[in-house]
Amino acid sequence: MALPKRIIKETERLLADPAPGISATSHEDNLRYFDVVIAGPNQSPFQGGIFKLELFLPEEYPMSPPKVRFLTKIYHPNIDKLGRICLDILKDKWSPALQIRTVLLSVQALLSSPNPDDPLANDVAQHWKENENAAIQTAQEWTRKYATA
C-alpha cells in the first residue's frame, strides 16, 4: 500500500514545526513507525525526564488510532509496566480528525495529570490514591533513575 498523503504531511509537519517538548521521527525503512521523545512536563513528577515512546500507524490510520507505547520505564497510574497507555483517544474515543501531534500532546498532558481513578497499573494507582505524596516521590525517583540520559 502506498503511504497516504496525510501521513507524509504529518511527518513533515512534525519535523518542520515540532510541538514543544515533543519530537517524533519516522523510521526510514518503515514510515509508519515513529520514534518519539517526550520531555516530562514541568510541575509534574516527571519533570526533567526524557521519555522514549514508540508509535505505529496501522494500515487503517486515520480510521483507526495509532499504537503508542512507552519504552522508558515510568511510574504512572495510567501506564503499565509494559509501557501501555490508558488513554481514551487511543482506544474508543479515537477520531480520524485527531493526528499524531494531538495524540502526543494528549500523552504529554497525561503525564501532567495522572488519573488514578481510571488505572492501568493497579498497584501504582493504589499507591497514588493512598499516599499521593509518596507516589509522586516514587515517580520522581523513577524519572531520575530511568528517564535521564
Binding site: K9, R13, A16, M63, K93, A97
Partner: protein, 606 residues
C-alpha cells in the same frame, strides 16, 4: 512541502488569513482540500468519501463526537465550489504571492478573476436596485429619463456592445407594461432591465453560478405569470397580455437594435424552432425553447460550447412579466424563420443520446445526470402543449445513491446479482464481494455529492485499482500466513528431532550405565538425573537452532528436515548399538540391572 503535498503552512506567515482559509477548506480527516464537501448536523464539514468511510465504522462526528449518520449529512455545494476553485488557483496564487513577497513584502493578493457582487443603491424610490457585475465587463449604471427615448437606449446598447457584454435590455415603464428591445451577442449572460420612467434601472449580469439563488424565488413569480402567458400561436402578435403600446415599442426597438445585432443574427439565422415556452436548460440554465432543447444540449452544452442564441439565464426570464418574455422570444426570433410550434413541445429533451457521465469536463454534470428525472416532470406540467411552461428548475434532484446493504442477510447469489447490476466484478468469495460492494457504494455515493463528479468510467478505474490492492493485500496476508505456518512446522519438527535426540542420549546413557553396571556389578548405576542433566544441553542447542531456523523462514523447512535426517541417522545408529548391547547383555548375564533401557523411540516422521 514536497510535490503534490499541500498544507496551510505553505502560505507565507504574513498571510495568516490565507492560512486560515486554506485550513478551513481542508477535510479534518484526509487533510486535503475538501472534495465533495458535505456538512453534518453539527455543521462540521468533511469530504463525502472520508466521512462515509468514518460513518461506516462509527456514528459520530469526528470533530465533535455528536451522534450522526449518513442520512443526516447534506451536500455543501457552495463550500465545495469554493474548495474546488481555491484548489484550481492555489498554486498560481501561491507562486504569485511568493514572487511578490520576495522583493517587497506587502502585497495584496489578487485572486484570479472571480465574480464580484456589488450592491448599489439608486435614487429610485420604489424599485429595489440590484446590480451584479462581472469584473471582466463593465456595465454602466444609467438612469434614463423619460425624455430620452430609444436613441438613448440604443446608445446604451452600443456601449454594451462595445464592452462585448451580451445582454438584452428590457425597458419597463411603470404605467405601461413594457417596452423591449434586445440583442444577442456571444458571451453575454446578463439582461438589463430598465425603467424608462427614470425610476429604476436594474442591471443584472447574471452568471450561472449566481443563478441558483434566484431560482428559489421562482415559484411565486411563476404563479403570477402563468395566466397571462402568451400561447405559441399568438406569441408574435400577442395582444392579450401586452397592450398595443408594447407592440409599437417592440417594433421600434427591434428596428433600433437590428443594426447592433446583425453579427449575432448571422450566426443564429440557422437556428431551429423558437417558441415562447422557454425552459431552463438543465446544464447551462439558459432559457431555451423547449423543442430546441435537444439541439441546444447536443450542439452546445454537451459539447462544452456556449449557445450564442440563448444566453439569458432562465431564472431571469421567468421573473419577468409574460409580455416581456414574449418580447424576449420575439427578439430572439426576429430575424429567423419561425417554425410553428407544433406538438414537438411534447417531445422530451431527455434523449438516450445523452449518456450519463459521458462528458466529465462539463462542470455541471450532476444537473445533466438529473435531466432524465427532470424532464418528465416538465412535460407533465404542460397539460396543454401550447401553453408555455415556466417550470421552475427544481433543485437538481440528487442522483440515486447506492443503498447500504446488510451483507449478512444476503446469500452469495443475491450479492453477486447486486454487483452485476452495478457492473462490478463478481468473482471471489462473499467477503470479497461484500467489501467490493461497500467500497463502490462509498466512492459512488461520494461522487454523487461532488459538484464536479467524475464519470463512471473513472470510478470503475478506481475500483480496478482497489481490486489490485486487495489482491496484493490478500497475497501479502497469504504469504505471511504461509511463512508463519512454515515456522510453526519447522519448530514442530525441530522439537520432534530434539525429543528424538534427547531420547537417543538417554538411551545411550542408560546403555552406558548398564555397561558400567555390568563392568562393575557392585557399583550403582548412574542416576537418570545425571543423564537428564547431560541431555539438557542438547535441547538448548536445538532451541537456538530453532530460533535461527524460524527467522530464516523460507529455508526453515529444509533446515529442519536436514536436522531431522541427521538425528534420525543418529537415532538409528544408537538404536542398533543398543540392540546389540541388549542382545549381548541378555546373552551374558543374569539380570541384575535395575534400570531397564527405555524402548527405543521411532524416528520422527517426516
Amino acid at each position: 512541502m514536497s510535490e503534490g503535498i499541500t498544507d496551510p503552512s505553505d502560505w507565507p506567515i504574513e498571510f495568516k488569513s490565507l492560512r486560515e482559509i486554506d485550513s478551513h477548506l481542508r477535510c479534518p480527516i484526509c487533510k486535503e482540500l475538501l472534495r465533495a464537501a458535505v456538512v453534518l448536523q453539527c455543521s462540521h464539514n468533511f469530504c463525502s468519501e472520508c466521512i462515509r468511510r468514518h460513518l461506516d465504522k462509527e456514528s459520530s462526528c469526528p470533530a465533535c463526537r455528536v451522534a450522526t449518520s449518513t442520512s443526516q449529512m447534506r451536500r455543501n455545494v457552495a463550500l465545495d465550489e469554493i474548495a474546488n476553485n481555491f484548489g484550481d488557483c492555489r498554486s498560481l496564487l501561491l507562486n504569485t504571492l511568493m514572487e511578490a513577497v520576495q522583493p517587497k513584502p506587502v502585497v495584496r493578493p489578487v485572486p484570479p478573476p472571480q465574480f464580484v457582487k456589488e450592491e448599489s443603491m439608486d435614487i429610485d424610490y420604489d424599485s429595489p436596485q440590484q446590480k451584479r457585475r462581472r469584473t471582466s465587463t463593465r456595465i454602466t449604471n444609467r438612469n434614463v429619463s423619460s425624455s430620452q427615448d430609444h436613441t438613448d437606449i440604443a446608445m446604451g446598447q452600443v456601449t454594451l456592445d462595445d464592452d462585448k457584454d451580451d445582454d438584452f435590455v428590457l425597458n419597463h415603464r411603470d404605467s405601461s407594461p413594457l417596452r423591449h428591445k434586445g440583442k444577442n451577442v456571444h458571451r453575454s449572460t446578463g439582461p438589463v432591465l430598465r425603467s424608462r420612467g427614470g425610476r429604476a434601472e436594474q442591471t443584472l449580469s447574471q452568471s450561472s453560478q449566481s443563478s441558483q439563488a434566484d431560482e428559489r424565488h421562482e415559484p411565486t413569480n411563476l404563479t403570477k405569470q402563468e395566466p397571462s402567458l402568451p400561447t405559441a400561436s399568438d406569441h408574435f402578435h400577442n395582444s392579450a397580455p401586452a397592450p398595443a403600446e408594447v407592440q409599437a415599442s417592440l417594433n421600434s426597438s427591434t428596428n433600433i437594435t437590428s443594426s447592433t445585432i446583425t453579427t449575432s443574427v448571422a450566426s443564429i439565422a440557422s437556428s431551429p424552432v423558437i417558441g415562447p415556452n422557454l425552459v431552463a436548460c438543465p446544464i447551462c440554465d439558459k432559457g431555451i425553447p423547449e423543442p430546441y432543447t435537444n439541439t441546444h444540449l447536443d450542439k452546445f452544452c454537451l459539447a462544452g460550447r456556449t449557445d450564442p442564441d440563448y444566453t439569458v439565464p432562465y431564472s431571469l426570464i421567468s421573473k419577468q412579466p409574460a409580455s416581456v418574455i414574449a418580447l424576449y422570444t420575439k427578439q430572439g426570433t426576429s430575424t429567423r424563420d419561425v417554425v410553428p410550434d407544433t406538438n414537438s413541445s411534447l417531445t422530451k429533451p431527455g434523449t438516450p443520446g445523452r449518456s450519463v457521465g459521458s462528458n466529465s469536463s462539463t462542470p455541471n454534470s450532476p444537473a445533466r445526470q438529473s435531466t432524465m428525472q427532470w424532464q418528465p416532470q416538465m412535460s407533465s406540467n404542460g397539460t396543454a402543449p401550447r401553453q408555455p411552461m415556466f417550470t421552475p428548475k427544481p433543485a437538481a434532484p440528487e442522483p440515486k445513491r447506492i443503498p447500504k446493504l446488510t451483507y449478512s442477510l444476503l446469500n452469495d447469489k443475491q450479492l453477486r446479482k447486486k454487483l452485476q447490476e452495478l457492473g462490478l466484478q463478481t468473482n471471489g468469495d462473499k467477503t470479497l464481494m461484500a467489501k467490493r460492494h461497500a467500497e463502490f457504494a462509498t466512492i459512488f455515493n461520494a461522487n454523487c455529492d461532488s459538484t464536479r463528479p467524475k464519470p463512471l468510467s473513472e470510478l470503475m478505474k478506481a475500483m480496478q485499482v482497489w481490486e489490485r490492492a486487495y489482491e496484493k493485500d490478500l497475497e501479502v496476508r497469504e504469504t505471511q500466513r504461509r511463512i508463519l505456518d512454515q515456522q510453526q512446522q519447522a519448530q514442530r519438527q525441530i522439537h520432534a528431532a530434539k525429543e528424538a535426540k534427547r531420547q537417543a542420549k538417554e538411551d545411550a546413557a542408560a546403555a552406558a550405565a548398564r555397561e558400567a553396571a555390568m563392568d562393575s556389578p557392585g557399583a550403582t548405576p548412574p542416576s537418570s538425573q545425571s543423564s537428564n542433566g547431560r541431555s539438557t544441553f542438547v535441547p538448548n542447542q536445538a532451541n537456538s537452532n530453532a530460533v535461527n531456523v524460524a527467522i530464516a523462514s523460507a529455508s526453515a523447512f529444509a533446515h529442519a528436515a536436514k536436522y531431522a535426517d541427521e538425528y534420525a541417522e543418529l537415532i538409528a545408529e544408537v538404536r542398533n548399538r543398543l540392540q546389540a548391547d541388549k542382545e549381548k547383555a541378555l546373552a551374558n548375564t543374569t539380570t541384575t540391572i535395575t534400570a531397564e533401557p527405555a524402548p527405543p523411540r521411532s524416528a520422527p516422521s517426516q
